[in-house]
C-alpha cells in the first residue's frame, strides 16, 4: 500500500501543465487567505482573551472603508482567476483542425473506441504522442463522463447527442481512463487505460491486428444497405436534400430558423428526422432509431462528413 503513494497526478498532456499552473495560482491565493484568517483569529483570540469577567470592550460597530476594502480586493482577485480560467477553458475547448479523430461510445459499463482507420478497441485507447487527438463521443444509455486525470480533461458523454473533447499527449506511457459520471452498478469498473505511443509505433499498431475497414467505408456500406441514396442522391428533384458538402454548413429549416450541420444534427436527422425539416423538402423520411447501433450512427456520420471532404477536394 505504501510503495505507490502519489500526492500529485502525472502531467502528460499539453493542457495538464497549463491547468496545473492555474491550480497552483489559486492554491497560493487560498493559502494566503487561509493563513491570514487563521493568524488573525488566533492572534486576536489569544491577545484579547478574557482576563476578568467584568471586562467591557469598547464598542466598534464597523467601518465602511474596511467593508469596501475586503469586498473589492477579493473581488479583484476573483476576477483575475475567472479570466484566467475562462481563457484557458475556451482555448482548450477548440480542437486544432489537424487533430486525429477518434470516436467513442460509452455504455453501461464499457468504453468503445473506433479509430477512423478502422481499429476498434474496448476500455483501451491507443494514441500517438505529440499529436492532437479529438474525441467525438456519445452514449448508448445513460450519461457517462470520459476522464483522463493525467491529461486534466473530462467531458460528459450523453445519450442522443455528440460531445467532444480533445487532448495532446506529451509523454508515452499508460494512464488511467475513468468514467466520472455515476452511471449505475458497475460505474467504478467502467474504466480503462490510455496508451500513449511514439507515432511510429502507433502507426504500426493501427495497421496491425484486426484493423478491418475504415469507418468511412463501413459508413458507406451502411449508407448503401439502408438505401439512403435513393432519396439523398445529389441530383435535382431528389426527395431528400443532398448530403454532399453538408457537414459544417448552415441549413435553412422549414418554418424559419437554421441549424449548423454538425455531428449531433446529422445523428438527430437519422434517428428523429421529423425534428428539423430542411426548407423545401417534405417530412417523409422514416426514423432509423433502433435500426442502427450507436457505432453504426457514428459510421454514417463519418461517411457523411467524408462527403464533405471529397467535395472540398474537387
Amino acid at each position: 500500500m505504501w510503495e505507490n503513494f502519489p500526492l500529485f497526478p502525472e502531467a502528460a498532456s499539453t493542457a495538464a501543465s497549463r491547468v496545473d499552473r492555474l491550480f497552483f495560482f489559486i492554491l497560493i491565493v487560498c493559502a494566503f487567505f487561509t493563513l491570514l484568517i487563521f493568524t488573525l483569529v488566533f492572534t486576536f483570540a489569544i491577545r484579547y482573551r478574557r482576563r476578568s469577567p467584568s471586562e467591557r470592550p469598547r464598542p466598534i460597530s464597523g467601518s465602511l472603508r474596511l467593508e469596501i476594502v475586503w469586498s473589492l480586493v477579493p473581488l479583484a482577485i476573483a476576477m483575475v482567476i475567472f479570466a484566467w480560467g475562462s481563457r484557458l477553458y475556451v482555448a482548450l475547448a477548440r480542437p486544432p483542425a489537424e487533430a486525429l479523430h477518434i470516436f467513442v461510445v460509452g455504455k453501461q459499463w464499457m468504453w468503445k473506441f473506433q479509430h477512423i482507420e478502422g481499429q476498434r478497441e474496448i476500455n483501451e485507447l491507443h494514441v500517438p504522442v505529440g499529436k492532437p487527438v479529438r474525441l467525438t463521443m456519445s452514449s448508448e444509455d445513460v450519461i457517462h463522463s470520459l476522464f483522463v486525470p493525467a491529461f486534466r480533461v473530462k467531458t460528459d458523454v450523453l445519450p442522443g447527442r455528440y460531445t467532444r473533447m480533445w487532448f495532446e499527449a506529451t509523454k508515452p506511457g499508460t494512464y488511467h481512463l475513468f468514467c466520472a459520471e455515476y452511471c449505475g452498478t458497475s460505474h467504478s469498473e467502467m474504466r480503462g487505460r490510455v496508451v500513449v505511443m511514439e507515432p511510429a509505433r502507433f502507426q504500426e499498431w493501427l495497421g496491425g491486428g484486426r484493423a478491418g475497414e475504415s469507418l468511412e467505408a463501413r459508413g458507406a456500406q451502411l449508407f448503401a444497405q439502408l438505401g439512403c441514396a435513393s432519396c439523398h442522391e445529389p441530383a435535382p428533384g431528389a426527395r431528400g436534400p443532398s448530403l454532399v458538402g453538408l457537414f459544417g454548413k448552415t441549413v435553412e429549416l422549414q418554418g424559419g430558423g437554421s441549424v449548423t450541420a454538425d455531428e449531433t444534427y446529422l445523428r438527430e436527422s437519422i434517428v428523429n428526422p421529423q425534428a428539423k425539416i430542411v426548407s423545401g423538402f417534405q417530412p417523409i423520411m422514416p426514423t432509423y432509431a433502433g435500426q442502427v447501433s450507436e457505432e453504426g450512427l457514428l459510421q454514417l456520420v463519418v461517411y457523411i462528413m467524408s462527403l464533405e471532404e471529397k467535395a472540398a477536394r474537387k
Binding site: I60, G85, Y182
Partner: protein, 542 residues
C-alpha cells in the same frame, strides 16, 4: 441597558406543564415542535452517519470486498439523501430557528403555530416514504437522481424515495413561509429590522430560498415520475427528452439548497461570536445584507455544476463569473467575524470553540470553491473527491460545526440544564481533528483524479483513503460523546440560570426553560442588537 436580574427557573415551563404524549404530539408550541424536530433529525443524523461508516469501511481497500457494488451505490445514495433532505436542510432552521425566532423577536409563537406542527408531520411523512425506500432494497441513483439513469435505467426504489423528497419539500416550504410571516409581523415593539439578531436575518434569507426554490424540486421530481411511471419523454432522449434539462432543474433548487444549509449556520456563528467576544458584531448591516445577497445570487449559479455536461461555453462563462460573485458576501462575513474578535473579551467556552472551528473550516471550504468556479480547473476536479471534500468542508465543517455550537449555546435555554463543559470541549476537539483527517486527504485524492461514487479504485489511492477512513472513525466518536452527555445532562447536570452566558438578546430575558407563552409580558426593545458594551456587568453564580 441593564440586563434583568437572574430569573430563577419557573415552577411551570414549556417542558413540564404536561407530560402526556398528546401534549407533545399535538403541541403547537414552537419550542416543543423544535424539540420534536431535534429528536427526529438526530435520529436521521445517526442513520445517515451509519451509512457513512459503511462507506468508509468499504473504501479502506481498493477492492470491493465488504459489499457488492449494488449495495455500495445504495449506501452512498442513502447517506446523501438522508443527510441532505432529512438532516442538513431542516437542522438549524427547524430546530434552533423554530425554537428561537419567536423568543428572539419577543413573540409568543410563530405566526402560524398549526402550520408549524403540520410541517413536522409532513416532514415525518416524507421521511417515512424515504426510509421505506432505503430499507426495502434501497435506491441507487445518488442523491442527485440524474436522468435518464433515474428515470429509465435504475432498478431501485427511485419513486418511493422521490415521493419522500417531494413530500418533505412541503415541510420546508411551510417552515420558510412561517418564518417570513413571523419576522414581518410579530416583532416586539421597538424591534426594527436593523435591530434584529443576525440569526433572524440569516433565517429570513434562508426562508426566501425555501419558499422560492423548493417548488422547483417538487416539479423536477414530478417530471421524473411522469417519465419513469408513464413513459412521457422529458429527460430521456430516446423518447424525445433532454437529460441536460434534468440537471438544470435539479440544480436550480439544489444549488440554492446549499445556502439553505449554510446560511442558518452563519446566523448561529454571528450570535456566538458576539456573545463570547462581548462585543457587537463588527459590520452588522454588512453581514445582514450579505445574507440577502447570498440568497439572491445563490439562485443564479446553478450552471456551475454543469461545466463538463455539454452546456454551451457561453453559459458556462456566465455561471463561472456569477459563482465568483457569490463568494464575495461569504468573504465579507468571515472578515467581519474576524474583526469582531479585535479588542474583544474572548472566552473559550464550547460554543465559541465551535464558532472558531466553523470560521476556519468554512474559510477552507469556501476558498476551495474557487477551484470549482474556475472553468479550466473544474474540468479536472469535477465529479472527483475534490468536490466531495469541498462540500463536506462547507456542510460538515461549516454547517454541522455551527449546529453543534448552537446546540451548546442554547442548550441551557432549551433544557434548563448546563452541559459538562470539560467533556464538551474535549468532544469539540475530537470532532475538529477527526473532521480534518477525514476530509483533507480527499482534496488530494480528488486532484489525483479519483472519481466520486467509486466502489473499487486503483491501488495508488489506498493510503489517502485509509487516512480518510481513520479520520471518520475519530469523527464518529466525536459525535457520540455529545450525544451521551446531552442525554445525561437532562437529569444530572447543574440547573442553568436564565442567562448563563450573560448574553444579549430577548431569548435570554425569559427564564430557562421558557414558560409556554415565552414572555410574561411583551418585551420592548430600545437598543441595537448585541449591546454588550453597554450591558451592566453582573456576575451571578448560580
Amino acid at each position: 441597558m441593564t440586563t434583568r436580574l437572574e430569573l430563577s427557573p419557573p415552577p411551570q415551563h414549556y417542558l413540564n406543564w404536561s407530560y402526556t404524549a398528546r401534549s407533545w404530539l399535538l403541541s403547537t408550541d414552537h419550542k416543543r415542535i423544535g424539540i420534536l424536530y431535534l429528536l427526529s433529525i438526530t435520529f436521521f443524523f445517526f442513520i445517515g452517519g451509519a451509512f457513512a461508516v459503511l462507506i468508509r469501511l468499504e473504501l479502506m481497500t481498493p477492492a470491493g470486498d465488504l459489499v457488492h457494488s449494488e449495495t455500495y451505490n445504495r449506501l452512498f445514495t442513502a447517506h446523501g439523501v438522508i443527510m441532505i433532505f432529512f438532516f442538513l436542510i431542516p437542522s438549524i432552521p427547524a430546530v434552533l430557528g423554530n425554537f428561537l425566532i419567536p423568543l428572539m423577536i419577543g413573540a409568543r409563537d410563530l405566526a402560524f403555530p398549526k402550520l408549524n406542527l403540520l410541517s413536522w408531520y409532513i416532514f415525518l411523512a416524507g421521511a417515512a416514504f424515504t426510509m421505506a425506500a432505503v430499507f426495502s432494497g434501497g435506491v441507487d441513483t445518488g442523491w442527485t437522481f440524474y436522468a435518464p439513469y433515474s428515470s429509465v435505467y435504475s432498478n431501485s426504489a427511485v419513486m418511493l424515495t422521490g415521493i419522500g423528497v417531494f413530500i418533505t419539500g412541503f415541510s420546508s416550504i411551510l417552515t420558510g413561509l412561517n418564518f417570513i410571516v413571523t419576522i414581518h409581523t410579530l416583532r416586539a415593539p421597538g424591534l426594527t429590522w436593523f435591530r434584529l439578531p443576525l440569526f433572524v436575518w440569516a433565517h429570513y434569507a434562508t426562508s426566501l430560498i425555501m419558499v422560492l426554490g423548493t417548488p422547483v424540486l417538487a416539479i423536477t421530481v414530478a417530471l421524473l415520475a411522469l417519465e419513469r411511471l408513464f413513459g412521457v419523454g422529458v429527460f430521456d432522449p430516446r423518447i424525445g427528452g433532454d437529460p441536460i434539462l434534468f440537471q438544470h432543474l435539479f440544480w436550480f433548487y439544489s444549488h440554492p439548497a446549499v445556502y439553505i444549509m449554510i446560511l442558518p449556520g452563519m446566523g448561529v456563528v454571528s450570535e456566538i461570536v458576539a456573545c463570547f467576544s462581548r462585543k457587537r458584531v463588527f459590520g452588522y448591516s454588512a453581514i445582514a445584507l450579505a445574507s440577502l445577497a447570498i440568497a439572491v445570487l445563490g439562485f443564479l449559479v446553478w450552471g456551475h455544476h454543469m461545466f463538463v455536461s455539454g452546456q454551451s461555453a457561453y453559459a458556462s462563462n456566465i455561471f463561472s463569473i456569477l459563482s465568483f460573485l457569490v463568494a464575495i458576501p461569504s468573504a465579507i462575513k468571515v472578515f467581519n467575524w474576524t474583526a469582531t474578535f479585535y479588542r474583544g473579551s474572548i472566552a473559550y467556552d464550547t460554543p465559541m470553540l465551535y464558532a472558531f472551528g466553523f470560521i476556519g473550516l468554512f474559510t477552507m471550504g469556501g476558498l476551495t470553491g474557487l477551484f470549482l468556479a474556475t472553468l479550466a480547473v473544474d474540468v479536472h476536479v469535477h465529479d472527483t473527491y475534490f468536490i466531495v471534500a469541498h462540500f463536506h468542508y462547507i456542510m460538515v465543517g461549516g454547517m454541522v460545526m455551527a449546529y453543534m455550537g448552537g446546540l451548546h449555546f442554547w442548550w441551557p435555554k432549551i433544557t434548563g440544564r448546563m452541559y459538562p463543559e470539560g467533556w464538551a470541549k474535549f468532544a469539540a476537539l475530537v470532532i475538529f481533528i477527526g473532521f480534518n483527517l477525514t476530509f483533507f486527504p480527499q482534496f488530494v485524492l480528488g486532484y489525483l483524479g479519483m472519481p466520486r461514487r467509486y466502489h473499487v479504485y486503483p491501488d495508488e489511492f489506498q493510503v489517502l483513503n485509509v487516512m480518510s477512513s481513520a479520520g471518520a472513525s475519530i469523527l464518529g466518536v466525536g459525535y457520540l460523546i455529545p450525544m451521551i452527555y446531552f442525554v445525561w445532562s437532562i437529569r444530572h447536570a447543574p440547573v442553568a440560570s436564565s442567562n448563563p452566558w450573560r448574553a444579549a438578546g430577548l431569548e435570554w430575558q425569559t427564564p430557562s426553560p421558557p414558560p409556554a407563552d415565552n414572555f410574561p409580558e411583551t418585551p420592548v426593545v430600545e437598543t441595537e442588537a448585541y449591546p454588550y458594551s453597554e450591558m451592566e456587568v453582573e456576575v451571578v453564580d448560580v
